[in-house]
């Protein structure tokens, strides 16, 4: 049962990612797209963790950790650009 749960969870996360993609493509403003990308990153953490469960493996920990720790960097940089056109002031 738990395997089915994991697999379905992965599919659901996939659907969530597809929805984010829609917003990413549709926009209309830059912050909307940044938000969509940020959501994709967060969903990716979920995906990686679920995949680690699925395989009973721990090799995806580092990747998930890196996204959680540094994934917002893209968001910060893109937002800063929108605010100032200049990301390092």
């Amino acid at each position: 049962m738990i395997d089915i749960a994991i697999v379905s969870a992965m599919a659901l996360v996939g659907i969530a990612m597809l929805m984010s993609l829609w917003r990413l493509v549709r926009g209309p403003t830059a912050p909307d797209r940044i938000l969509a990308l940020d959501t994709l990153y967060i969903a990716t953490i979920a995906l990686l963790v679920l995949f680690g469960m699925y395989l009973a493996s721990e090799v995806y920990f580092e990747a998930a950790l890196i996204i959680a720790m540094l994934g917002f960097f893209g968001t910060v940089v893109l937002s800063k650009y929108v605010i100032r056109r200049d990301i390092v002031e």
Binding site: F51, Y54, L55, S57, V59
Partner: protein
């Protein structure tokens, strides 16, 4: 799965080629980025596709190709990613300088219709 990866690589490569052939430096940079994604995926998949068999050895699992994806293309791809990054950085900087020095972001350094005779030499 092979079909999906192959087509994904194809789409990335095709999109990359199209953008590579655009006239503006930034578009070309985007094209190179897409192309390097395609290349990295291709190089990586030269070891064939395996789900859930990372080449990290564990106790109790025999150290054979049956239990592990081919690590060599992964290492090669890692090198390729880094090199592609380095190259992208260089293009980006050259594009910046190009635009600053020649006042055009056209890949050839000047807008179409420009003829070299009509313009003074600006090389040092």
């Amino acid at each position: 799965m092979e079909f999906a990866i192959a087509t994904a690589i194809g789409v990335l490569a095709g999109a990359g080629v199209y953008l590579l052939l655009r006239a503006r430096t930034f578009d070309v940079i985007l094209g190179l980025t897409l192309l390097s994604y395609a290349t990295n995926l291709l190089l990586f998949s030269a070891g064939r596709l395996a789900v859930g068999l990372p080449p990290v050895l564990r106790e109790g699992v025999a150290h054979t190709p049956a239990n592990h994806a081919d690590p060599l293309p992964q290492a090669l791809t890692l090198t390729a990613i880094v090199i592609a990054f380095a190259m992208t950085v260089v293009v980006v900087v050259v594009a910046m300088r190009n635009h600053a020095d020649l006042r055009s972001d056209h890949v050839d350094g000047h807008e179409p219709g420009y003829s070299p005779e009509s313009e003074p030499e600006r090389t040092r």
